[in-house]
Subunit: 233 residues, 2 copies
Amino acid sequence: MGKTDLNNWQAVQAEVLRRIHTRIWVPGELIPTEQALAQEFGCARATVNRALQAVSDAGLLERRRKAGTRVALHPVRKAKLDIPILRQEIEGLGHRYGYHALISQTQTPPQTVQTQMQADVGDTFLRVKSVQSADGAPFVFEDRWINLTTVPTAAQADFSQISANEWLVINAPFSHGEIAFSALNADAEVAAQLVVQQGAAIFVIDRITWDENRAVTSVRQFFQAGYQMQTRL
Amino acid sequence: MGKTDLNNWQAVQAEVLRRIHTRIWVPGELIPTEQALAQEFGCARATVNRALQAVSDAGLLERRRKAGTRVALHPVRKAKLDIPILRQEIEGLGHRYGYHALISQTQTPPQTVQTQMQADVGDTFLRVKSVQSADGAPFVFEDRWINLTTVPTAAQADFSQISANEWLVINAPFSHGEIAFSALNADAEVAAQLVVQQGAAIFVIDRITWDENRAVTSVRQFFQAGYQMQTRL
DNA sequence: GAGTGGTCTAGACCACACA
DNA sequence: GTGTGGTCTAGACCACTCT
C-alpha cells in the first residue's frame, strides 16, 4: 500500500469529489458509511463527517440517518451570493461613491407593500427614495419603506446625510429577510433617475427584512442598465 | 445561577446571534475567546467553535487567528441561492413540463463566447437552442454552446429528445462554474420564443461550467417576463 | 514569542428512519 | 429493533498572525 492516509477533511473532500466526478460513485447510488470511509482513509469518523457535510452542503450528496449517504441525482446547485454593499462595491472598484436623497417623508404605502410587510392598522411608514452613484454617474435608484412602528428612532434620522441602508445596519437589527431578483422595464421615474431610456431592462432587487415577526424595511433597488450580479458555483 | 448550560451548537449559535442583535456585542468589537465562551456556556470548545463558524459563514462574524473574533462591521449578507432545475421547479408547482429543441448543430461561436470559454484554435462547438415550457406556455428560452473537444460524446446525443442540461448533468462532469444574473430587453428572437413584446424586460442567467481548466458549456437562459428568483437571508 | 482559531482523535451517546 | 448520520467531549497539536 503506497497509499498515504488522508489526514484532513479537505483531502477527504477532494477525494470524495473526485469519486463523484469520475463516476466511481454513480448518481443515485449509496456510498460507503462514514465508518467504512474513515477506516479506508485512515482517519477519524469525525473527519469524514466534516468532509461529507461540506459536500452535502454543496448539494452533491444527500444524507439521511439510517438510509445512508447517496450521490444526488439532481445536484441542485447552491450558489453563495454576496449581496452587494454598494459603497464597498463602488469604492472597491476605485470609483467615488455618492449618495443623494430624493425624498424622505412619512407616507402610507400602497396595499401591496402593506401586505408584504404584514402591516398592522396604525403602523406608520417612512418613505425614502435615493440614488447612489459611482463617479457621479447614477448606479442604483432605491425606493424604500421603513416601518416607524418597528423602528421609531428612524423618524429622527437625517437621511439626506446618511444612506438609509447604512443607518439601518447600524441602528436596526434584523433577524432574517427575504430577497428576490427580477427584471423590469424602466418607467418614467426610473429612467429619469438612472438616465436611461424608458423601457430599458433594469435588474431589480426586492428585499424585506424582519426583526422576529415585525417588518423593519422593504426596499426595491433598480440597478443601472447592464448591471450583472456574479458568483461562482 | 438558574442558568442552564448550552449543550448543543445550535443553542450556542442562538445565544451568539441574540448578543449580536441586541448589541451586547457591538459591531467591530472583539468577542470573548472560544475558551472563555466554552467555560461560560458550560460546553466543549469544539461546540463553541462549530457555532461561531456557522455565524461566521453567515457573514456576521469575522475570525482571525491570534486576532480573535469580532462582530462584522459591514455584515456582507450571504444568501444561498438554489439554482433552479427547471423541470423540478415546474413539476413541483403542479404544471406539465415541456421541452422543445429548436436547433442543434455544429457552429462557430462568436468571438465573445470563444473568449469567455477560453477556446483553443481547432475546438469545435455544438449550438443548441431550446424552449422549456409549463403547461404549454413558454417559460425559458435557452441558447447554449457545448465544447465538443471537451465533451466529444455530445456529438452523438439526440437533443431533440432530452434537454441539453439533463444530458450534461448525466454525461459531463464539471468541477466548477460561473454564473451571472442580469436583465435584458427581449430582441426579436427572444420575444418570438417567449411570446412577449419586443423590448420586454427579461431576467437572464449566464452560466459557464468547467471541468478543471476546460470549458464544458456556456449557456444563456431567458426567463419569461415577470419571473422572480427568490431566496432568504 | 505567544495567543488565537482550525483541526484531528477516540470514544460515546443520541435521534431518526427504516425494516 | 437496529444501523446510520448528527453531535458532544476532552485533550492535543498545528497554523497563522500579531506584537
